[in-house]
């Protein structure tokens, strides 16, 4: 009886130290993942109906896509957009586990020893879904009266990144009938990154326009993780994390729009690096422990340059548009926190250089006042290919109507998804200096899909 109590206490301590490290310490390379990286939500139903190609579109969302094209808006325009997302995450845990030795020994895949000796993983899967509706954009554009050329100012706000996600982990190990370890985790995330913009577009010549937008970013990310492990008849472990991140940052975006000829127009733009200050509040509770463990962390994260190009081919009622972005996410870095800056090397090992492209078409039926749209996009995850099973891509459909001569209503449907894998630290060991020496990881595959509806209406005075 006494020996059983000792074993139970030891197991509890080991699990407590190991599992709490999953969320509180960025010890594993996966922990450098930032939800703000490569997570563009999209705005403007017209642009999203064309696969997200918006560099050469002439409405208020030019403030964010390409401020030079603000110069093409001749009337005062007020627009408002909403978005709705249905998010689904199907997860599964591989039967093979991974041992990671942080002391320099190459990782090997094998059944974990020690406490799990004799147990074998049982394939497990789970599914979770979440829906949310949010304000997508609100933009006001004001053209200044000119005698020649154009000067247009734009002001607006848009939901540039969406943090609404769910994930369920379901896993079990079995040694013999009735002798089972089960683990279940529920992850619930919500929030978003809001982009506030002010900019202007001006004609430099009859066929060249220049634009500049200043963006301020604010955001909040609420993260909740509930984890419960039942091991043998005499051990139960439960943990719950509440993490809130608050973001603030700014950058700006200069751009050019060029009318090459009657049919072809092109755009060039870049976004300056975005440095966001992050303030993180953490609170953790454990089953059987009435205390709440709280912590607070502050750091900066610097997102690299984003270079963009776009072109549009117009043949009267038909338009074909193509946008390309390039971002070298390996240049992302933590700043103003020496503990976080230690992981900048891991950022380079985890993130990748990414080309993101969108192609879309539109056909206008003038007599009906109707436009039909469709598009396709490839929006690669910003991480190394080894963490991706099937990269992110999707398609879109949409339509728009012009009412009288002053109001438009645009609707778009976007279908997208990707498959990725990640390690879940099932248990871990530490040395005397509280440094992680080895971990026992489950390999989790996630099949993520989402449907998004965008509705935007604009009125021109």
């Amino acid at each position: 009886m006494r020996s059983a109590m000792i074993v139970k206490s030891l197991l509890y301590i080991i699990l407590l130290s190991g599992l709490s490290s999953c969320s509180l310490m960025a010890q594993y390379i996966d922990q450098v993942e930032e939800i703000t990286a490569g997570n563009f939500f999209g705005y403007g139903a017209r642009q999203m109906g064309m696969g997200g190609a918006g560099m050469m579109s002439f409405d208020g969302s030019a403030l964010f896509y390409n401020p030079a094209n603000l110069a093409r808006i001749p009337r005062i325009e007020a627009s408002l957009g909403l978005s709705h997302q249905e998010y689904t995450d199907k997860s599964s845990v591989r039967e093979v586990r991974r041992i990671v030795d942080y002391t320099g020994v190459s990782p090997t895949e094998q059944t974990f020893q020690d406490r799990f000796a004799g147990f074998e993983s049982v394939f497990g899967n789970a599914e979770d879904s979440k829906s949310n509706t949010r304000l997508n954009s609100a933009i006001l554009t004001v053209p200044y009266p000119t005698y020649r050329g154009s000067l247009v100012f734009g002001f607006g706000v848009a939901n540039v990144a969406n943090f609404d996600r769910v994930f369920t982990l379901s896993h079990s190990d079995s040694a013999s009938p009735g002798n089972r370890i089960t683990a279940r985790g529920n992850e619930f995330q919500t929030g978003g990154l809001t982009q506030w913009g002010a900019g202007a577009g001006i004609d430099l010549s009859p066929r060249i326009a220049f634009g500049l937008s200043l963006f301020i970013y604010t955001g909040k990310h609420d993260y909740n993780w509930r984890y419960r492990l039942d091991s043998l008849p005499d051990l139960q472990y439960g943990q719950e994390d509440y993490i809130t991140d608050k973001y603030f940052g700014w950058n700006f975006k200069p751009s050019l729009a060029i009318q090459m000829n009657q049919y072809l127009s092109m755009a060039l733009a870049f976004e300056t690096p975005l440095t966001m200050s992050v303030k993180e509040d953490i609170s953790t509770t454990y089953d059987g422990d009435p205390s709440i463990y709280v912590d607070e962390v502050e750091y900066d994260i610097r997102r690299p340059f984003v270079f963009s190009g776009g072109m549009a081919l117009s043949f009267n009622e038909a338009t074909l548009a193509l946008d390309i972005d390039y971002t070298d996410w390996t240049q992302m870095e933590y700043k103003n926190n020496i503990f976080m800056e230690r992981y900048n090397d891991e950022i380079e090992a985890y993130y990748d250089k990414v080309f993101r492209y969108r192609i879309g078409g539109e056909y206008v039926f003038p007599k009906l006042g109707l436009s039909l749209r469709g598009g396709y996009f490839v929006d690669p995850l910003p991480v190394k290919k080894q963490f991706i099973d099937d990269d992110r891509n999707g398609f879109s459909l949409g339509f728009g109507i012009l009412i009288d001569r002053v109001m438009t209503i645009d609707v778009a449907w976007v279908r997208s998804g990707y498959n990725r894998n990640s390690d879940f630290i099932y248990a871990s060991t530490y040395d005397a200096g509280d440094e992680l020496t080895a971990s026992h990881n489950l390999i989790v595959d996630e099949d993520i899909s989402y449907d998004r509806i965008y509705v935007t209406s604009a009125y021109r005075f």
């Binding site: 093409r72 009337r75 020649r148 154009s150 010549s205 500049l212 200043l214 001569r405 438009t408």
Partner: protein, 197 residues
């Protein structure tokens, strides 16, 4: 340090934009002669803004309007008509309403003559428009008139418009065609109508 660097770049770009803006975009109107008469207002403007007839909904990227902006003017209005133009161009002058109750731009003639009264068909004779639903709205005088025209159901560019402007006879023919087409709809119901042979 970071902010100083990017604010410097931002400042540089703004200066660059302002420098370039003086080359093309003009916010202030050039000075005009004193004694500028109100009645000369539009005529004098056309002297400088010669492309106004080609871009009735506002100057839009180079030299191109999508064709359907002409045939379906509300698109031209939505995408290209500056909100302040109403101030400079009186709505009562040079504007008409087409069959879909849309504003249609019809440039004011600066050199034409008054419209012909009791006009009749004149050579060269042309075939009536084939599409019975087509409406032609024409403003133009006799020969030498600078009337513009906007057709529905037919594609027409600004250059086409200019060409038509040079043919006053054609305008008169279109007057006749329009009269022939619209008369059945616009004439009052026959009184005391009886049987016909």
């Amino acid at each position: 340090m970071f902010m100083n660097k990017y604010f410097t770049l931002l400042f540089f770009l703004l200066i660059l934009a302002m420098t370039f803006s003086g080359c093309y975009t003009v916010l202030m109107h050039p000075q005009t002669e004193e004694g500028y008469a109100q009645e000369d207002y539009q005529d004098a403007c056309i002297d400088c803004h010669t492309d106004y007839n080609d871009y009735p909904y506002g100057y839009f990227y180079g030299d191109h309007y999508s064709d359907y902006w002409w045939s379906t003017p509300r698109y031209g209005y939505y995408y290209a008509y500056p909100w302040w133009w109403d101030y400079y161009w009186s709505p009562s002058e040079g504007r008409q309403v087409n069959s879909q109750n849309e504003d249609v731009f019809v440039p004011r003639s600066s050199t034409g003559e008054k419209a012909t009264r009791r006009g009749s068909i004149r050579p060269p004779y042309v075939e009536p428009l084939s599409n019975p639903g087509t409406t032609t709205i024409t403003r133009g005088g006799g020969s030498g008139g600078r009337g513009g025209s906007v057709k529905e159901g037919n594609t027409q560019t600004g250059k086409d418009s200019t060409n038509n402007n040079n043919n006053g006879n054609n305008n008169n023919n279109q007057d006749q065609q329009q009269k022939q087409q619209t008369q059945p709809d616009n004439t009052k119901k026959t009184r005391r109508g009886g049987g016909r042979q």
